[in-house]
């Protein structure tokens, strides 16, 4: 067992974990943050994306011990005081989700995109999202939602 200290959605977390524990397993099984999903076992689908120190990260590809000392934001930590984050709000308004399974990873990935590129064009949006799979929407409305989110204040920030 290894002891780790990190912040998850603004809260200090201290835990003993097996060294082989993946960050996604730690979030889902130890902290009960089941909004982070597992869609594959080869780090392709992006359903497990969280923000680690602000960077979108596939949490199935990171060990929990590697998150020691870091700031992790999951989908549960994005809406504040009952108000949806601008990216969440844009996804809602543009019907950018259907079954919802890819949505948490998709939304967090977009927050990172907008923190780097304030006004991405369609090509840039599609290129960025090639690591987030969606089978329901065909991405059409996701692309529209991202372009709209980019016009909203705070879309590239958490909190």
């Amino acid at each position: 067992m290894v002891s780790i200290n990190l912040r998850v959605n603004g809260n200090a977390v201290t835990a003993d974990v097996e060294p082989r524990t993946l960050l996604v397993s730690f979030l889902r099984e130890r902290l009960g943050l089941t909004g982070t999903h597992v869609g594959c076992d080869t780090s392709q689908c992006g359903a497990c994306v969280v923000l680690v120190d602000g960077l979108s990260t596939k949490s199935c590809t990171l060990l929990a011990v590697q998150a020691d000392g870091r700031e992790v934001i999951t989908i549960e930590g994005l809406a504040r005081n009952g108000a949806l984050h601008p990216v969440q709000q844009a996804f809602h308004e543009h019907h950018a989700l259907q079954c919802g399974f890819c949505t948490p990873g998709m939304v967090l990935s977009v927050v990172d995109l907008l923190s780097r590129t304030a006004r991405p064009n369609e090509h840039e949006i599609r290129e960025w999202l090639e690591g987030n799979f969606c089978r329901c929407t065909g991405y059409h409305n996701i692309v529209k939602a991202v372009a709209d989110a980019a016009t909203r204040p705070g879309a590239g920030h958490v909190g």
């Binding site: 597992v38 809602h92 989700l97 065909g138």
Partner: protein
């Protein structure tokens, strides 16, 4: 269009979004039961082998192991094999047993051999590696045609030649006559590529057993919980249905792969009683690729007979359909009645004959995948129509227009069983040509040529049979179940409503669309309507969601139940208002004496029903809660016309979809935003099949080569285009909503539109057909092979 902001026709934003956007969704793998153990399945690494011995001693001694079970344990306990729900009429069908855990033989890579139940997934997995299985390898066959060849390895002793069934539809004599009089005959050999459905949520299930009540609960990622309850209780565990509850909570996409009843569901449910603990299993994506039912996999030969003016005279098709190693729940339905009955398409095609052979191979079982049979039919028909157009020197639009069923010809009886109820095919063709700027294409092609790109344009005019299904028709053709839908509308004392539907949403947006229908009909705010689905203990009954049936059949059942509510409400109002029942009308959420201002709002009638102080108790029961079963009178027939434009880089063969236009007629639209979302998803599914996706087995080793997202070309955001969408509305004439269904349309139409565009782009090389997926390598090879021939000219 309703004036009401949430009524029928309004793009209401989805009510289910909040939970999914904030991480509050509740999918099966998010659920944990106290004391649960974890299942890990040992799967066959070989495509075909006899199991001569299984030794679990060393594995059983591993830390954390609770129990290990094999097929022998299930058989000893009398557990049945997985049943098939459809046997096509017209001849014998081979139904070899499909045990939940293999007994003495494995028939595809991924076939379940044993289950390890342990305190953690890791412990179960570690122990599974210590199970010693001794195999005697057998010769294998994975390819569709090879399975029918003389001397092919045999999968099942009672299915000689690997033939499950040989089925035909249509009139062969009429077709031969048409061919004999034809001015031209064109033919085409084509493959419909095998697909992995790839819902992003992997399958998962949790079995529980309540010793106090002698009752099981199965929580599972299914599209149809009552169907699973029926199959698992009655046929597999052989227990009464009231002893089994099936729950399907939030489900992360289905696309057909979550219709069938799977062996994992059997094992976790049965084992929960054996080990006295809840048992949970969640698939890894590698397992999804190996074991979630695949789709398509047809090899076909088609011939179309034409008159000199381009009129279609007759169509004949021979198809070999790969069913995989065993029959999945609806395996034989897909390549028969969901396929060949659609071969008339939108056309007045006087004679059709289709022969289908269903064959067993050492591959994952094949079942429904978005569209299920109808994409295969549309691809065949719309491809050969394009071949005919080119052969006769006519434009794709012109030859289609010449053959469309006229708008005044409905109801229209096709030669392949279906009676189309309504349609206006020429109108959607015109709309599509206009929106896609068909006439401007020549200029775009020239512009592309200047950039060194080959540009092509393709049409696909499609029809689908949805709203599955009239039960008497389904029964006559081989279904072993009814295909009605059930609903309950429970009005609470203060006038809010809970609706229980047997339909299931795994992305289709029932929480919103169904609530709109209810709010609109009852004249109450949407916020006063709750939609419940996915729990056999809560919902009276149901057949689930597939075949674009949710609104047309499930929604109609809700309307029927609401009609009963309103009828009872009129009686209550007549009593309270001292008027005749026939003098009461229900509009805008109030019961009114016609021609007066005497009126009682819906909520007050509800209260009267539950506080029946002033109530016709001698005539009516208290309460306001009604159920309905709706059995459709016919299938519904959505149709449309799609236009695709591609550009091909001749140096690399890479195909890019640079324009895509879809005009669809899905009947009455409740929520345009949601319908468009369904069209988008379906089209991209179809583009995926046309350009990227294929489940590939190595023919020598029988291994699935495309067993991960690193190997299977899942359509990504950067490979897909934005879409132009338009609508036409011809309401379905035989259901109360006028709805037809929209979930599969795109997947049915798109493959032919894309490939017709690809072939158009490559026409100058003399290329007349490109099999799917039209990958860069495949296109590059076709161009390279064509160039010497071109040079020789």
């Amino acid at each position: 269009m309703s004036a009401n902001a949430t009524g029928i026709g309004a793009s209401v934003r989805r009510r289910e979004d909040f939970r999914f956007l904030t991480g509050c969704g509740r999918y099966t793998d998010d659920i944990n039961q106290p004391g649960q153990a974890y299942a890990w399945f040992l799967r066959s690494p070989l495509p075909h082998a006899r199991i001569t011995a299984i030794d679990v001693a060393a594995a059983s001694a591993m830390p954390g192991v609770v129990a290990i079970f094999t097929g022998a344990d299930l058989a000893a306990d009398g557990v049945g094999t997985l049943p098939c729900g459809f046997a096509p009429d017209g001849g014998p069908i081979k139904e070899p047993p499909y045990p939940a855990l293999a007994e003495d033989r494995v028939r595809f890579v991924g076939d379940r051999i044993a289950v390890v139940i342990a305190d953690s997934v890791a412990a179960a997995r570690d122990a599974a590696e210590r199970i010693d299985v001794i195999f005697e390898e057998l010769p294998l066959v994975t390819s569709t045609l090879a399975a029918r060849a003389d001397g092919a390895p045999q999968l099942h002793d009672d299915a000689p030649g690997n033939l499950c069934f040989a089925w035909t539809i249509g009139d062969p004599a009429a077709v031969e006559k048409a061919f004999a009089t034809a001015d031209a005959v064109v033919s085409l050999d084509l493959v419909n590529n095998r697909k992995s459905p790839n819902a992003i949520e992997p399958r998962a299930c949790i079995g529980e057993y309540d010793r106090a009540r002698d009752r099981y609960t199965l929580t599972t990622t299914t599209q149809n919980p009552h169907v699973i309850r029926l199959l698992l209780a009655a046929f597999v565990l052989k227990i009464p249905e009231h002893k089994l509850r099936v729950v399907s909570p939030d489900v992360g996409g289905g696309f057909g792969s979550k219709i069938p009843h799977y062996g994992e569901e059997v094992v976790v449910t049965w084992a929960a009683k054996r080990v006295g603990r809840p048992v949970k299993w969640t698939a890894e994506r590698s397992e999804s690729f190996l074991c979630d039912t695949h789709g398509r996999d047809h090899v076909s030969h088609a011939e179309l007979a034409l008159a000199a003016d381009g009129k279609f005279l007759g169509l004949k098709a021979k198809t070999v359909a790969n069913l995989g190693a065993y029959l999945s729940t609806f395996g034989p339905l897909i390549p028969t009645y969901l396929y060949a009955t659609l071969l008339s398409g939108q056309y007045a095609l006087p004679a059709i004959h289709c022969e289908v052979e269903g064959v067993f191979t050492n591959t994952c079982p094949v079942d429904a995948e978005r569209g299920a049979g109808r994409p295969e039919a549309t691809f065949l028909l719309e491809r050969i129509v394009d071949v005919a157009a080119r052969a006769l020197g006519k434009s794709p639009a012109e030859i289609r227009r010449r053959n469309l069923i006229a708008r005044n010809a409905f109801p229209y009886q096709t030669p392949v069983a279906l009676q189309y109820d309504s349609g206006d095919y020429e109108k959607v063709l015109d709309q599509a040509l206009l929106l896609a700027d068909w006439t401007g294409f020549a200029a775009r092609r020239e512009e592309a040529r200047r950039r060194g790109k080959l540009r092509g344009i393709g049409l696909s005019a499609y029809i689908e049979a949805c709203g599955l299904a009239p039960s008497n028709v389904a029964g006559a053709i081989g279904a072993r179940a009814g295909l009605f839908e059930a609903a309950e509308v429970r009005v609470h004392p203060t006038g809010s409503v809970t609706v229980f539907t047997g339909s299931h949403s795994h992305g289709q947006s029932h929480d919103t669309t169904f609530a709109q229908v209810v709010a609109d009909r009852l004249g109450i705010p949407m916020d006063n309507v709750e939609i419940v689905h996915g729990d056999t203990d809560a919902v009276p009954f149901g057949m689930g969601t597939y075949g674009s049936r949710s609104l047309a059949v499930g929604g109609s059942a809700i309307v029927k139940a609401m009609d009963k509510i309103i009828a009872k409400g009129r009686k209550i109002a007549a009593h309270a208002l001292e008027a005749g029942e026939n003098d009461i009308e229900f509009t805008d959420g109030a019961f009114t004496v016609i021609g007066t201002d005497k009126s009682i709002p819906f909520a007050q009638i509800a209260l009267s029903a539950y506080v029946p102080h002033n109530y016709p108790l001698d005539e009516l029961e208290p309460g306001l809660d009604e159920q309905a079963f709706y059995d459709p009178r016919n299938f519904t027939f959505p149709f449309g016309c799609h236009v695709c434009e591609v550009e091909i880089d001749p140096a690399s063969g890479a195909v890019a979809v640079v324009g895509y236009t879809a005009i669809d007629d899905v009947g009455t639209v409740i929520n345009p935003m949601i319908v468009e979302g369904q069209i988008h998803g379906g089209v991209c599914h179809g583009i995926g099949q046309a350009l990227f996706e294929q489940a590939v087995y190595d023919e020598e080793t029988g291994q699935l080569v495309t067993g991960s997202f690193a190997d299977y070309a899942f359509p990504r955001a950067d490979a897909l285009p934005s879409l132009r969408i338009g609508h036409n509305v011809t309401p379905c004439p035989h259901n109360p909503l006028g709805a037809k269904g929209c979930g599969e349309a795109g997947a049915i139409a798109a493959p032919a539109a894309v490939i017709n565009a690809v072939v158009d782009a490559l026409a100058e090389y003399g290329i007349t057909h490109v099999d799917m997926p039209a990958t860069a390598e495949r296109v590059w090879r076709l161009i390279r092979n064509a160039e010497p021939a071109l040079a020789a000219q």
